[in-house]
């Protein structure tokens, strides 16, 4: 092996264990000392490469990993919270919209009629003008005088609409009068019925009134009685 080739290969890797290089070095004193010199040089180079490492580097690297994990966790949970919140929000809005779009009071009024016959006053106090007016006050209304035969005056909910349900005993059987607040979103047909009852509604200034009675009953008288007595404040 010529000198140049030997040097090239030793320069490329002084730690080499190639047998032909070892053989060449054994055969030639000069090659041997060159190789030895190179190994010494490499030792010094390795020393020179070992620059001082910042003391706290390892702990910094571990710390930044925990911080990163925490931040990503936070980000992730924020993300989940945001999605959960908007889903909840959307559901809330949809339910509200859906309800607003489909409030049909006639069906609800008829449903209430089914158990109006067994309905009892929630209050033990006698149903008198004062009590009816006290309850009507929340609709901004009052009666000028009592309608004969009011047995029950209860607040009830027609769908989600709070209303006042008056059950009145009349010569034509029991009738119900629902006082409901005026609201654009409510559908209130002027006439409705099912197989037992029929009802009519009166649109008044600040509230709507629904009168429901037996199919054969004439509701006109009751409508007039209510309309005549209903007064609105302000």
């Amino acid at each position: 092996m010529d000198d140049l080739e030997f040097r090239r290969r030793i320069y490329a890797d002084p730690e080499t264990t190639d047998s032909d290089l070892i053989a060449a070095a054994n055969a030639d004193e000069k090659k041997r000392s060159f190789w030895h010199e190179q190994k010494q040089m490499d030792k010094k180079l390795k020393q020179a490469l070992k620059v001082e490492v910042p003391d706290d580097l390892a702990s910094k690297l571990i710390w930044q990993q925990s911080a990163d994990e925490f931040n990503r966790y936070k980000k992730r949970s924020r993300w989940y919270m945001a999605v959960a919140a908007s889903v909840a929000f959307t559901i809330g809005i949809s339910i509200t919209m859906w309800n607003q779009g489909s409030v049909d009071l006639s069906g609800q009024a008829l449903a209430h009629m089914q158990y109006a016959e067994v309905e009892e006053a929630h209050s033990l106090l006698p149903v008198d003008l004062n009590m009816v007016n006290a309850k009507l006050a929340s609709f901004g209304a009052s009666f000028s005088d009592m309608i004969e035969g009011i047995e029950v005056a209860n607040y009830c909910h027609l769908n989600t609409v709070r209303s006042l349900h008056l059950i009145i005993d009349t010569p034509q059987g029991k009738m119900s009068v629902f006082v409901v607040p005026k609201d654009e979103h409510m559908e209130l047909p002027s006439y409705f019925e099912d197989n037992r009852f029929h009802g009519e509604s009166i649109k008044m200034r600040q509230a709507n009134v629904i009168v429901v009675g037996d199919k054969r009953a004439d509701l006109t008288e009751m409508k007039e009685a209510v309309a005549k007595r209903m007064q609105f404040t302000a």
């Binding site: 890797d13 002084p14 010094k44 180079l45 490469l49 620059v51 910042p54 580097l57 690297l61």
Partner: protein, 185 residues
């Protein structure tokens, strides 16, 4: 169902714990040499530290991709080189390299043997394509094949660069010795 959740949670926790342990082992085993490698790439301690932090952060985030612990060193070096390239893309840093500025120091030149500081400067003075394979060889004990794979070069190119790197160092040292001889003589 609750029992199963509990087991799943414990498994998640213990796999998290295992991941942490792996990461910490990786940091302990390699942070020093990875820092040195970064330093010799960029020749600036604080930039090197930034790159190392970026490197280990990325290593942590993709730790699941590291299947073979034996490949960890090469894997980290690959991440680091990518980080360094990215840094170059961001901005070409214009730093004054203290090692490139020749500092005339009488006391050092009076020393008989070539000293660490001079070697440091000479190593820093090598161009990057000679310096990088040499550092991989000396710092990590990589073979010619391993360096070739790491730097995406063929082995002959790597061997030639290693030869030239040492040859240049040797010539520089001899030149210094001559200078020293002239001054001393």
């Amino acid at each position: 169902m609750f029992a199963r959740n509990k087991i799943d949670n414990t498994q998640v926790l213990s796999s998290m714990k295992a991941k942490h342990q792996r990461y910490e082992a990786l940091v302990k085993a390699f942070h020093a040499d990875i820092f040195r490698y970064a330093y010799w790439l960029v020749k600036d301690r604080s930039v090197a530290e930034d790159i190392v932090q970026e490197t280990f952060l990325r290593a942590w985030r993709s730790l699941d991709a590291l299947n073979d612990e034996k490949a960890a060193k090469a894997w980290l070096i690959t991440i680091l080189r990518r980080e360094n390239a990215r840094r170059f893309e961001r901005k070409q840093l214009d730093v004054v390299d203290i090692d490139d500025v020749f500092i005339h120091d009488e006391t050092q030149q009076a020393d008989g043997d070539i000293n660490q500081r001079e070697l440091h400067r000479l190593l820093g003075g090598l161009s990057i394509e000679y310096r990088e394979p040499l550092i991989l060889q000396l710092l990590f004990g990589f073979s010619g094949e391993e360096i070739a794979a790491q730097l995406n070069l063929n082995k002959n190119t790597v061997m030639t660069r290693l030869f030239r790197a040492r040859n240049q160092l040797k010539e520089a040292v001899e030149k210094q010795d001559e200078n020293r001889g002239r001054i001393n003589g």
